[in-house]
Amino acid sequence: MTLSKRLSMTCVAAVLAATLAYADSPSQATDAKAYDAHKLAAVTVGLSTKAQVRTLLGTPWRILQFNDCGKAMPGQADETWEYRGKDANGTYRFHVEFDDNGVAHLVARIPDKVAGGAGTVAKASAMVMAHNHPM
């Protein structure tokens, strides 16, 4: 197989992959909500509890934790709540990590703009600090 043919096949595969990824991801932009910016800002690192966040923003779009042995890995949260939001800049996820006591210890607002490789810089909210991706 020639190099040019190999490259072209790689490109085709990449396009196909991107198409497939979005064809089978139904629960993205469609369920994004326009959250009140004041409510988002009210989620406070070190203070807000799960109950308070739920009262402010409702049921999370997704809850997850990355641990698989019962204990949080170093520097990783016990539990993350995500809300899918949208505003004039597009869709985003409002990301809240809770500690073992159920208190928010990290809050970030992360844009969804990743389609077609257009970029996926995760900007932390002002409550945490600005994102500074090294690449």
Partner: protein, 573 residues
């Protein structure tokens, strides 16, 4: 010249043999489970397809630089299909041929998400997806995991899955399991009352709960179920069982699940120093101060087991990795002595077995099945292990040692990188152990992925090895091995020359809007990154390769192309 012609003829015949094996597996794909562990006890025969110059003959292109961090990168692989898994983060995928239907079982990490099939937000459990047509996966059902406790999902999830066909289990007619399929799954990963469950998944769209095998656990992890014998090696631990482990508090509970409706307990097992009777306060390392009260490895008590692999009745060995990401020990055990070692007679029986061997063994009870153990550098653990037997060494097929063709039996070991952005951790790699002499396992090669040029420590999430593929697909056996490498994706190595393994393919999934951000605080600065994390890579019985994402980005179904395809089949397609 005649010699070269003969060599070429041998190579051609070898590829024909590989093709025949592939054909056999395709035939099996029409309905029967494959005859290899854990479904049967056959071991594929690895045919030498290389010239005597081995890896030095293989004219491969160098590994290409990965693309930008927000784009897919792919080398010698092709994306065939995709499922978003309802945006649930996956730990372990398993693909089972159920009467000709290819069913993907995905064990999910803890959390919750909407199940559009029920329109209910469900605690992450087991996803069941029909991947018969890889281009159009169909989500069939989701068995929820444990509910949150006091509002927290930290003990939830159902991340481990095993499936046996009821017709493959022993005494199928007597036990009424003919034609049925059974799912063994962990229910919760850590908490006050975790368990291992069995479900009837004969109709994968409508799973039915059968029973709880073992409950009251504080830890579960990756189990193994021999379908042709029914023996199950459950990874678990409870605060009341008295066993002692550092880090992950789990050891083995071994059961006979040949009748899924009537589990029979056999014994608990672990590393020397983990038994309830060990005096941790005074124990010394067995390596330097062997005594009746010592511990194997570098930490006291030894670190917990992650997940054993039994190679079934033909090989009669069980490979046990301890330590996950640190303080690792790799142990090789005699399977018959492990299963029967608490009996004082019969095959594998131990005449000196203690009366309390099954639950509260003595050091001697634990040593009885142990063939060997090797201690790792403590900054790495043994997360997973996968043996590959009798891989020919191309350079040593003649005029070497005794003039006979030489081969090596290999045990692939991976550690687990657990820190985002590599912060505070040494690199976590994978290794090839030479277990040709199983009493003296010895490292032969390191399988590493450099953080550059991909800047994997800078792109966010975890970087490092995680798990070695456990499925046996005969055409791949002894030719390639795959290891999940978190944000560096699926990594495939060419192992045709076992002393000179080489990277031959990779796939790094692009983040999507479903990719959960990984955040880390380094030197006081907190940043979040959208990065996929390939958690496990597995094969089905058609040779498709499944890359499951820990960050909620679904499962990507891949095939080999280019030189990776050639390494397996002899042609580029």
């Amino acid at each position: 010249m005649a010699r070269i012609r003969l060599s070429l003829l041998a190579i051609q015949l070898s590829f024909l043999a590989a093709g025949a094996l592939a054909g056999a597996d395709r035939a099996a794909a029409q309905g029967a489970m494959l005859p290899y562990p854990p479904y049967g006890s056959n071991i594929p025969i690895v045919v030498d397809t290389e010239r005597q110059s081995g890896a030095y003959y293989q004219d491969q292109q160098p590994e290409p630089r990965p693309g930008p961090w927000d784009q897919e990168s792919i080398w010698n692989m092709r994306v065939e299909g995709y499922t978003d898994n309802q945006a649930r983060p996956i730990y372990q995928p398993l693909i089972i041929n159920q009467n000709g239907r290819e069913i993907l079982y995905a064990g999910n990490l803890a959390g919750s998400a909407l199940n559009p099939l029920t329109n209910v937000v469900e605690s992450n459990g087991t996803s069941i997806i029909d991947v018969t047509d890889v281009k159009r996966p169909k989500f069939l059902s989701h068995i929820p995991g444990p509910a949150p406790i006091n509002g927290s999902f930290s003990a939830a999830g159902a991340q481990m899955v095993r499936v046996c066909g009821g017709s493959t289990l022993p005494n199928a007619a007597t036990n009424g399991t003919v034609g049925r399929y059974y799912l063994l799954r962990a229910f919760g990963n850590a908490g006050p009352n975790e368990s291992h469950q069995i479900w009837d998944v004969t109709d994968p769209a409508s799973p039915k709960f059968v029973l709880t095998v073992l409950s009251g656990l504080s830890n579960t992890h990756k189990s193994w179920w021999e379908c042709d014998t029914g023996i199950a090696y459950l990874v678990a631990g409870s605060k009341s069982d008295g066993w002692q482990q550092s880090g992950s508090t789990q050891h083995l509970y071994i059961y006979d699940l040949s009748n899924p409706y009537k589990p029979v307990f056999i014994r608990q097992f672990g590393l020397v120093g983990q038994q309830p009777s060990a005096n941790v306060a005074t124990a010394q390392p067995c390596a330097t101060a062997p005594s009746a009260n010592c511990y194997e490895g570098t930490t006291n008590p030894p670190a917990g087991i992650h997940g054993p692999i039994s190679m079934g009745t033909q090989v009669d060995r069980v490979y046990m990795p301890y330590g996950v990401g640190a303080q690792g020990v790799v142990q090789i055990d005699d399977r018959i002595k492990l299963l029967n070692g608490c009996n004082t007679s019969g095959p594998g029986g131990n005449p000196n077995a203690s009366a309390s061997c099954a639950n509260n063994p003595t050091q001697g009870d634990l040593l009885w099945p142990q063939i060997s153990w090797i201690t790792m550098n403590p900054e790495n653990g043994a997360h997973s292990s996968m043996p590959v037997f009798n891989v020919p060494v191309p350079e040593e097929q003649s005029n070497f040692v005794n003039g006979q063709p030489q081969s090596k039996s290999l045990l692939f070991i991976s550690s687990e990188g657990t820190a985002n952005n590599c912060f505070g951790q040494a690199p976590h790699d994978a290794w090839v152990l030479d277990i040709t002499s199983e009493t003296t396992p010895w490292p032969m090669e390191t399988m590493s992925v450099s953080q550059y040029p991909g800047d994997f420590c800078g792109k966010g999430a975890r970087f490092g090895a995680h798990a070695v593929t456990e499925a046996i697909y005969a055409p791949y056996y002894g030719k390639i091995i795959s290891v999940s490498w978190f944000n560096a994706g699926v990594r495939v190595w060419d192992i045709r020359d076992p002393k000179n393994v080489k990277p031959i393919a990779y796939y790094i999934q692009a983040p999507t809007a479903n990719t959960a951000a990984s955040c880390s605080t380094i030197n006081g600065a907190t940043n979040c990154y959208n990065a996929t994390m390939n958690d496990y890579v597995e094969y089905d019985d058609r040779g498709y390769i499944y890359a499951a994402d820990r960050a909620g980005t679904g499962v990507t179904i891949l095939s080999l192309t280019g030189e990776a395809h050639r390494a397996v089949y002899g042609t580029e397609e």
